[in-house]
């Protein structure tokens, strides 16, 4: 199959970017989206041109590296899938695909499709942990956790921190990511001692990183490759108010 690719090329962080159009022919519809980019980069390298920079690691939909918007949708057209899990059969033969980096002030473009997502790391450093003594691994089931709570916490823990929620949001808001991380630890007994401080600190770090604010449209939930529910944002809002009231 044949595809026209309109790809955002930007040599560096403080350089202006622009679209460059490439044409690829003889593609196998069962190729993954990233394999198609590999084919393109192979050709560009052999032509002595700069290959398209894009992030990738596991290529099996669990690491969250492959951040790119395909036709204006983070991770492309498929529900509950990362870019690496998108296959060319999802597109029409001869279609033009526009490929862009995440668009958000808090995720500046480093090169081509690669953005700096360290703002998420700063949020995690602010409160995305529990304080325990190091040493031997604790005994399994030393702390009993009900099945329902364990499953809820696991739903929130599915977040792979890819940043698609921020990328899809009209406001560049990170509230789905922060809500998932706050709730994942806040639901478990191990997360209780720092629960109040955690939500305050993580929201503070989120605001400091220059993310926008949720205006309740839930595009984040729609594009999330791990289908994290926007209901976690409601829980974070509740937790946050509880923490503020407790502090008074």
């Amino acid at each position: 199959m044949k595809l026209h690719l309109k790809i955002w090329r930007q040599p560096g962080r403080d350089h202006p970017g622009h679209f460059v159009t490439y044409e690829l022919d003889g593609l196998n519809p069962d190729m993954s989206f990233l394999e198609m980019l590999d084919v393109l980069n192979d050709r560009l390298t052999r032509e002595g041109k700069e290959p398209v920079a894009f992030e990738h690691d596991c290529r099996e939909g669990i690491c969250g590296s492959c951040a790119m918007a395909i036709n204006g949708e983070p991770h492309g057209p498929n529900e509950g899938a990362t870019s690496c899990q998108v296959y060319l059969r999802s597109f029409r033969d001869g279609e033009t695909l526009t490929i862009e980096p995440w668009r958000a002030r808090a995720f500046p473009v480093l090169k081509d499709l690669v953005t700096d997502r360290s703002a998420f790391d700063r949020i995690m450093q602010a409160g995305g942990f529990i304080t325990v003594n190091t040493g031997q691994a604790p005994d399994a089931n030393a702390i009993p956790i009900g099945k329902e709570v364990a499953e809820q916490a696991f739903d929130a823990a599915h977040c792979i921190g890819c940043g698609a929620c921020v990328a899809a949001c009209r406001n560049g808001s990170a509230m789905l990511f922060v809500a998932a991380k706050v709730s994942h630890l806040g639901l478990l007994p191990q997360g209780q001692p720092e629960r109040k401080e955690r939500v305050l600190r993580m929201v503070e770090a989120m605001d400091a990183a220059g993310f926008g604010n949720c205006s309740n449209q839930y595009a984040c939930e729609a594009v999330c490759p791990k289908e994290i529910s926007a209901d976690w944002i409601a829980r974070m809002n509740r937790d946050y108010a509880g923490a503020v009231v407790k502090k008074l």
């Binding site: 204006g72 899809a168 560049g172 401080e197 600190r201 926008g212 594009v223 829980r235 937790d239």
Partner: protein, 236 residues
């Protein structure tokens, strides 16, 4: 972990200001619901019902002014917090995608992307509405309209409303504002539940349906009065 008291100040954080928008919005929704219920007394068989009610509302000046002050505070807080959040939202997304993506997938609804516009027009309407029926500066003759209820001389609100809405331009602006209030609440009422933390998988459908019903009921309730005037239900 020790919180930094200055920067974690409730009113400065994103979530804190969202709470301000939601709580003030809830108070204002409560007000418009009661206001609409009061207005519907226009349809009572006699004009006495609404005139008696209007007189009752002004029975205690301190209470009236305390309530007006509360409304003014809620409105100011709602606007301040919403605009400061909206300003940050624009700054957080300096460049959008060249291709917009599917609106249906990204949940782009007309109501949700026009909150600042609908809110601004509603604010302009509220100012006019207060000048029109409360301060009565648009038409000075309203102040002289009086009637007898229960042996007392009271302001003839019924006559003022019929007279006010018999001007198509004023009724038109009123209907436009109520249409925008419908859009504003369509998104706003469901949103405030999310901000106040009352939304989960089971409640989501009920909240969305409830905010739609609330918006429709308020639109129909408020619009029925100018429409009835324009259709000549009451004689001037």
């Amino acid at each position: 972990m020790a919180g930094n008291s200055e920067s974690s100040c409730f009113l400065r954080t994103s979530v804190g200001r969202k709470w301000v928008v939601a709580l003030s919005g809830l108070f204002l929704i409560g007000f418009v619901v009661v206001h609409m219920a009061g207005n519907l007394q226009m349809f009572s068989p006699t004009a006495d019902a609404i005139n008696r009610y209007a007189h009752l509302l002004k029975a205690s000046a301190p209470l009236l002014w305390a309530f007006r002050l509360a409304l003014l505070t809620a409105t100011a807080a709602h606007i301040w917090a919403a605009l400061s959040l909206a300003r940050e939202n624009r700054a957080a997304k300096p460049l959008n995608y060249a291709v917009a993506g599917r609106k249906s997938r990204l949940h782009v609804t007309l109501a949700s992307v026009t909150m600042v516009i609908s809110g601004t027009v509603i604010l302009a309407f509220v100012v006019f509405h207060l000048l029109h029926f409360t301060a009565q500066v648009v038409d000075r003759s309203y102040a002289t309209m009086e009637t007898m209820v229960d042996g007392k001389t009271v302001h003839d609100v019924h006559r003022m409303v019929v007279s006010g809405f018999s001007r198509p331009l004023i009724s038109g602006f009123y209907l436009l504002a109520m249409g925008l209030l419908f859009f504003h609440l369509r998104h706003g009422a469901a949103s405030l539940c999310q901000t106040l933390g009352i939304r989960d998988r089971k409640l989501a459908k009920a909240i969305d349906a409830g905010s739609w019903i609330l918006a429709v009921v308020l639109f129909l309730g408020f619009s029925s009065i100018p429409l009835a005037v324009l259709l000549g239900v009451w004689k001037t």
